[in-house]
C-alpha cells in the first residue's frame, strides 16, 4: 500500500456501504409515503378513464374493497344499471335484516319512535306528506321502513327528517329509492344502531 490513503480501505468501505444502505432505505420510504406526486392531465384521452382513478385503483389493488375492472366510479350510470345496483343493495340489506334476531322490548320501543314520527299530525307539523303503503318493522338493532311518495322531494325530505328523529339511538342509515312507472318513488330504508356497510 502506498503512502496515499486508498478510498478502498476498510473504514471507507464501511462508510460507503452505510451510505448506500441508508440511501436505499430513504428511497423506499419516500416511495411509500408519496407514490403519486406527479402533475398530469386529469383524463387519459386514450382510455377515457380518469388517470388519477386508474392510478389509485392500481395503488389500492390489495385493498379489501373489490374494484371491478373497468367499473365506472365517477360518471353517471345508465338507468338500468342504477336500478340493478339499488335492487342488489336492497336484497343485501334485507338478507341482513332477516338474519337479525328479534328483541321484542327493543323492537317495541323503536317501533313507537317510528309511529310517533309518522303520525299524521307530526308529519303535518314538519310540512311532510303522509306516505302511501307505509310499512315498518324492527328487530334487535335495525328498523326497516318502506313507503311510497308522490315525488323525489317528498321522499328525500321525509327520510332525512326521519334520520334526525331517530339519530340518538339509530345513527346509521341506508336509503334506497326507486322510481316507479307512475312517477312515484318507492323508498326502502334501514336505520340501525350498528354501522351499515355497502
Amino acid at each position: 500500500m502506498s503512502a496515499r490513503t486508498s478510498f478502498l480501505n476498510p473504514p471507507s468501505l464501511a462508510l460507503i456501504c452505510g451510505c448506500a444502505v441508508a440511501t436505499g432505505l430513504l428511497a423506499l420510504h419516500n416511495a411509500q409515503v408519496a407514490p403519486a406526486a406527479v402533475q398530469e392531465p386529469y383524463f387519459d384521452t386514450a382510455s377515457s378513464e380518469p388517470v388519477a382513478q386508474a392510478r389509485s385503483r392500481a395503488a389500492t389493488a390489495s385493498a379489501p374493497i373489490a374494484r371491478a375492472q373497468g367499473e365506472q366510479r365517477r360518471g353517471d350510470l345508465d338507468p338500468v344499471e342504477i336500478r340493478a345496483r339499488i335492487e342488489a343493495n336492497i336484497a343485501m340489506l334485507d338478507a341482513r335484516f332477516a338474519s337479525e334476531p328479534l328483541d321484542a322490548v327493543w323492537a317495541m320501543r323503536e317501533q313507537r319512535a317510528l309511529d310517533d314520527f309518522f303520525a299524521a299530525d307530526a308529519l303535518a307539523a314538519q310540512g311532510l306528506p303522509l306516505p302511501d303503503g307505509l310499512q315498518t318493522a324492527c328487530h334487535s338493532a335495525t328498523c326497516r321502513v318502506s313507503a311510497r311518495f308522490a315525488d323525489p322531494v317528498e321522499a328525500e325530505m321525509t327520510t332525512q327528517h326521519l334520520a334526525m328523529h331517530v339519530a340518538a339511538r339509530l345513527p346509521y342509515g341506508a336509503v334506497m329509492p326507486r322510481a316507479l312507472d307512475d312517477g312515484s318513488i318507492q323508498v326502502d330504508a334501514w336505520y340501525s344502531a350498528a354501522r351499515i356497510v355497502l
Binding site: A14, A52, S56, E156, Q160
Partner: protein, 171 residues
Amino acid sequence: MNRIALSSAGLTLAIGVAFGAAPQTASANYKTSTGSACLAYGGTTTPDELLYLVNGIRPRYDTDEFILCNFVVDSENGWYNAANSATLSMYFKAGNIDAPVSCTATAGSAYMYGVLTYSAAQTIPATLGSTLTMSGMIAPGSYSWAPFNVNCKLPAKATLARMVLNELGAV
C-alpha cells in the same frame, strides 16, 4: 481513524433505518366551513328564518329550524372502508337555553347507488358549546364522485359555528 469511520457508517445506517422504519404518515385532508354556508331546508324553514353570521348560523326567532349544508369533497378516491373514510365534526354553541341538536350526514347519491346516512344527537347545556361527530363515513359503491351533505335540526337560540370534514387515508 477506523473507529471514527465505522462510527460514521453506523450513524448513517442508523439514520437510514430510522427513516425507513418510520410509520407511514396517515394522510389527513381537512375541509373547514362556517355554519353560515348552510341553507334553509324542509317544508317549515325559510331563508328569512335564519340568521347568517360571520360566526355561524342560527334561527332568527325562537323556533327550531332545519338546515342543509353542502361540502366540497375531492375526487381522489371513494370513501370505502374505515381506513379510507371521512369524519365530520360540527361545533354548536347553545344560547341561554338548552339546545337539543341533531344532524344527519348523507354520503352518496339517490341517483347512483343509494345513500348511507350517519346521524348524531345531543343536548348542549345552555350557554355551552359542544361538537357532534360522525366518523367512519363511507359512500355506497365506493362512488368516487359521491356528493356529501349534512342536515341539522337547529334549535332555538343555538348556533352552528363551524364544520370540519376530514377525509382520512388515501381519499
